[in-house]
Homo-oligomer: 305 residues x 4
């Protein structure tokens, strides 16, 4: 707990909509943050908040820890294992905090590689939207060695509403993240089917949603996504369909490795492929909740404008 007032020297790689908010919170909490992004225009607002720009990945690896918050496995692999990457650049005993939504397999590979390099590795996956990131109201799922996570606590403190710890193996946080995204996508599909049914039966979708969210489904997943599906408002994307497809694919890959049949996840993956095949890859992922209405002849398939 003494850690809470301690400031750290940290690199932050990946400044998309989530990463920018998170790095901003670290700066506001007094941490010394060096920021790197493949396209450097994203750095400006953070430099104004006091961040130091890094021209290369290696320049973001000179502190106590480096955080990665990137789009997918390929981006993380490139930044970690590539020429001048994290693995070569981070000093012994320094920490790599992986906050991206990546595969369980990559998480295992990172754990092993950092261990061989004498570095520390933890996973800290993230729930929340960009506005929650900017407000320091994220939920974070951590997994890895307790002492390392303890060291990182001042960082998490700056970003979270609440933290959940999932044990000593970093990959546990990745599996939890993927399975939660599966549950959200499952709610999208089920809502889509239910709304196609009642809508074709002559019932107003918003009135129907009001019942759901007043009774059994009062949580934000149903309220927020239910409204998008009721309005068929799939643009602009808060979280793009192609990322949704990726997360379900990674959940299925984990299920494959663990030999866990997941028929609803399989069905969701086919729904995402349909959406992508028909031009919807940049729609919000809630657009899979529009496919049942299309199959029922109510509306056309969701498409990007």
């Amino acid at each position: 707990m003494a850690n809470r007032n301690k400031t750290m020297k940290v690199g932050f790689i990946g400044l998309g909509r989530m990463g920018s908010g998170m790095a901003g919170r670290l700066l506001q909490a007094g941490h010394e943050v060096t920021v790197y992004n493949r396209t450097p225009d994203k750095l400006k607002p953070l430099i104004m908040l006091g961040a130091k720009p890094a021209a290369k990945v290696s320049e973001a690896c000179r502190g106590d820890a480096v955080i990665t918050m990137l789009a997918d496995d390929e981006a993380v692999e490139s930044v970690v294992f590539g020429e001048g990457g994290i693995l070569k650049s981070l000093r012994r005993d320094a920490i790599h905090v992986s906050m991206s939504t990546i595969s369980v397999t990559l998480s295992e590979k990172l754990t092993a590689a950092h261990e061989r390099a004498g570095q520390r590795f933890v996973s800290a996956t993230v729930f929340g939207r960009p506005d929650m990131a900017a407000a320091g109201k994220l939920f974070i799922i951590t997994a890895g060695a307790q002492d390392v996570l303890g060291t990182c606590e001042p960082l998490f403190e700056a970003m979270v509403h609440k933290t959940f710890h999932m044990g000593d193996e970093p990959k546990a946080a990745n599996l939890v993240k993927l399975s939660c995204n599966f549950l959200i996508a499952s709610a999208l599909e089920s809502l889509g089917e239910a709304m196609a049914l009642i809508s074709k039966g002559g019932i107003d979708r918003h009135s129907y949603l009001a019942i759901l969210t007043s009774t059994l489904f009062t949580g934000p997943a149903f309220a927020n996504y239910g409204a998008l599906i009721a309005e068929r408002k799939f643009e602009p994307a808060g979280f793009a369909a192609k990322l949704g497809e990726k997360d379900i694919r990674l959940a299925l890959a984990a299920a494959q490795n663990l030999r866990v049949p997941m028929p609803v996840a399989s069905l969701l993956h086919d729904r995402f492929l349909t959406l992508l095949a028909r031009g919807g890859e940049n729609l919000d992922w809630s657009a899979i909740g529009g496919l049942a209405a299309s199959d029922a002849g109510l509306e056309d398939l969701p498409k990007a404008a």
Copy 2:
């Protein structure tokens, strides 16, 4: 609104765990209630609260309205269309309030039959468990002619936490009820798959559930049923698997008539058939959330003790 203080003379047919609580609330609110049940032993506690016992269906049909709260289509058809049934016994302009979870097709048939008989018919389907029924905290979905529903308001007042109105056609309330039960069953299956995945990945199911219910799935559906699935506690049944199978079957029948493909509903129906075929018909319906773990080789198929 003047209705609210008016007491009514009403019959109540079907005194299972839900019906008994509901009839008890009507008595407490001062209504004159005549109660009928196929097995008369259920009547005693209500008689002590002031109910008049009916030996036959027809004796429960002499008031302003008669309420049916029965297990399935067959029971309702028998009580309405059978010898000495509601249709023959209810006076002109008296009201039949159908609160059972029945098919959309039967609701249409009841609407037409009561109209031909010069009687009034409304649907008022119910969300809530037996304890909520006994406490007058139900959610009720009404549909039918507004004037008739206005007349019945003193009855609903005694039973509800909140009422939702779904328009002039009684069947709308039945379709909403069935589609909501589909959404709950869908949550059961998805939770079952997610828990099989994380559990086989070495993560504690209760810790996992705590994340879900603190973040995106804060509603009672996930909290209550998630706990049952995490503990694999499928007995005693709050709502039996065979009733769950029936509701998904009726939702699919409505989808068939409206030509709405519902792949998740189809998958759920096969899950319920598996559960029933393997001896689980008297387990709680949340036991379908245990099938994914069985398929993953984690546990045996859920079975009744």
Copy 3:
């Protein structure tokens, strides 16, 4: 076997494309055939072959046996149980031969009703196309009392290439027929998925089909339907999509009653609903084999011209 030369006095109800060919074969074999159809214009060609026209169902019920070959359960129920129907008109010990594709439940109901009426009832379901019916080359699945089927043998002789006997309960022939149509529909869907895959991979569908039909799938189901799917030639309908939907629905109803989960059958039913909802009810049922290509963005959904 002595029966083979015996001619019978028989009614034939239902003169669609299959029924007309079958009745024609009976006439050619020397049987005395009285024909009935709801729309009497179908009778003419058969009258020219020597058939006696019946103005009412009852007039077709005066012989040794009456054959029904109708579109669905509703048609059979109307003709059997309706005013002046078979049940009231057939003499004691005369035979009703049900050759339509009907539900297992209706078959049970017919068995019981005819037994109560002192009449005999057997099922004899049919495989083959109209040209095979006209040529007397059908496959017939019989079920029911052996002595009754023996009596009917001269009738079957006139129509079949081969007969299979399925035991004493008439419903067995109905279950076999429905399950076979499920297998054909399953082949349609799988072919559709495989062809969407190889086609999007740049491979010619006809070349691909040539491999299948030369190696493992040499039977007529794959050859005939594979060609339709490869060409996307779904009109004119040899067997309409709405009849395909009906047969899968009846197979699922049988599965429901026997508590047999059939996930592929469930998936097929949703495919048929999609086809019907989007305007394809009069296409050939092989059009469900075009849905995978549509979902893959290769072609539009199959629609009637």
Copy 4:
């Protein structure tokens, strides 16, 4: 055609049950064959037929061509890209003929790697069982440059009943092979569901199969596998469940890359995972056709002895 009498100097890597028969045929046709297998005991019978043993992969790469017939992607990658592998050992313009069932992605990778190395690469995937391999009665799907395939014709001549050419891109032969195995697995599942249905309905499975194979499903896929499912004879494995799982997984990976939703393939993959998770990985892959009966409560899940 002049090629037919030409004998070639060829390496053969992978002498499982299929590979041994194929290499034997090459020897009988007079080709000079150098054989390599990871476990060398498989070489003896071929040496007796005149094969030269190779102690290392590189020794099998000194001729006009080298054939690989291995279990999976990993084995092929190891043999091609590993230390002293085919890529390093094959001379310029010599040919690698890939006959294994591998992924489309690996086929693309091999095409590119061999091109960069100045070598030639073709795919020639195989249909048939070990006895057909030993008798030279295989079906072979070829894809790649016509001139290279022409050069290899004397090799194929020794092994095949019939050859099908799928164009210039080697990966086409891999996609065709995977999609055909998908169709077989689909038949296994559908047969399993149909047999569970009729069996629970009191009908004998062998009588039922006799109908199928006499009418619409006369090909070997239904006849051979239908008999195994009817008898629930899943041991010994002709083709192990774990290989079936692999093939469906590779078909789904190809579908993923081409964005083709394949719901039946997804369902099959979950069936294979169930089988593997419950101890059936060494059963014949037709054991997925036993899962429907298990879900229906007819029999226990198939398990290895």
